[in-house]
């Protein structure tokens, strides 16, 4: 088994699963019906992407674990999603800001994955990037609307940025699985993903009239299974059905 490929697929699946789960928490609670359904659509896109990565990870592992086993029956330390994806929804603006920070990264990542020498990775990326392009358009649009809205909405977006910015660095960290897969010639990441990412983010924040909190040290840990306190609560809810009624189907 290609251990790096297995772990990388799991990681990509975990990111999609956890941010998708967070967005699904808005279902029935959106500020208006139209945005409620918009976020639910996006949540479903992510859950769909998570399925594809977990199916692939299960096949690579070859021990018969299904996508459900991987999504619902691991322990917290085995999840390798980035810390940003597990942060709480907060108010609408905070969810938008979290989504924006993630979507810019995600689009850049999948652009690179489309060029992968691994056919399956490339196929998943090609299928997903259209969805991700829409996510990015959606969150960028709302970012500008809210930061350029009223004094109150601007202030809330600034608070959200102060609360979340230090989780952005982990998204573009150099990471061992990626480097190993690059050495094996299976994936190609762009030269300096962090520079590309932050040049967009910082520029757009500036345009949106928000102050980037440059002095905050970046937080990291999710990719090695060291999560924030929110992760346990997410898993409690996410895994409840499979833990309570093992093997339940519907």
């Amino acid at each position: 088994m290609n251990q790096s490929l297995f772990k990388y697929s799991l990681h990509l699946g975990d990111n999609a699963l956890i941010i998708g789960h967070r967005l699904s928490e808005w279902c029935g609670h959106g500020p208006v019906l139209e945005q409620d359904i918009a976020l639910t659509n996006i949540a479903l896109d992510f859950v769909g992407q998570a399925r594809m990565w977990f199916q692939y990870a299960g096949e690579i592992e070859g021990k018969g674990r299904t996508e459900d086993d991987l999504a619902y029956l691991r322990l917290e330390r085995d999840y390798t999603n980035c810390l940003l994806t597990e942060q709480t929804n907060g108010h609408w603006g905070k969810t938008i800001l979290r989504q924006y920070l993630y979507d810019v990264y995600n689009y850049q990542l999948y652009e690179d994955l489309m060029e992968s020498q691994d056919e399956r990775i490339a196929a998943i990326a090609v299928k997903s990037i259209k969805e991700i392009a829409y996510h990015r358009e959606f969150s960028t649009d709302w970012l500008y609307r809210l930061s350029g809205g009223t004094e109150e909405s601007q202030q809330k977006m600034q608070e959200a940025l102060d609360e979340l910015y230090h989780y952005a660095g982990e998204l573009v960290e150099h990471f061992s699985w990626e480097q190993e897969l690059a050495q094996q010639g299976l994936i190609q990441r762009r030269e300096n993903p962090g520079e590309a990412y932050f040049s967009i983010i910082n520029h757009e924040m500036d345009r949106a009239g928000l102050d980037v909190p440059y002095d905050r040290p970046m937080q990291t840990g999710g990719r090695t299974g060291l999560h924030t306190e929110h992760m346990g609560f997410i898993l409690t809810e996410l895994q409840y059905m499979q833990r309570t009624y093992p093997g339940v189907e519907w």
Binding site: P31, V32, L33, E34, Q35, I37, N41, F138, D141, R145
Partner: protein
């Protein structure tokens, strides 16, 4: 968000067909209206094109005018092209 105006949504289900009224929604401006329409009315692959029109720009006939508007057409069946025989070779009519 309570002040968001109402928009009427028209969807073209496939190329070559005309846009049909699909429903309505609230949005602050035309860009969001289009995005909302995409999310609310095309999530099950219903469309290839969307029009949105702010509802205040739609002028509707008055129900109390219905008799004057529509009754006169009821007894003019000769306006339907059904009074001549078509040769079998003519298709698509």
């Amino acid at each position: 968000m309570k002040d968001w105006p109402l928009w009427e949504v028209f969807i073209r289900s496939s190329n070559g067909l005309h846009h049909k009224h699909a429903g309505s929604l609230h949005a602050p401006d035309n860009e969001v209206a289009l995005k909302n329409a995409r999310d609310v009315y095309t999530r099950r692959n219903e469309g290839v094109s969307i029009w949105v029109v702010e509802s205040k720009h739609v002028h509707a006939s008055d129900p109390s005018d219905a008799e004057a508007f529509f009754e006169p057409a009821k007894d003019k069946i000769y306006r339907h092209p059904t009074f001549y025989d078509l040769p079998d070779e003519v298709k698509h009519i």
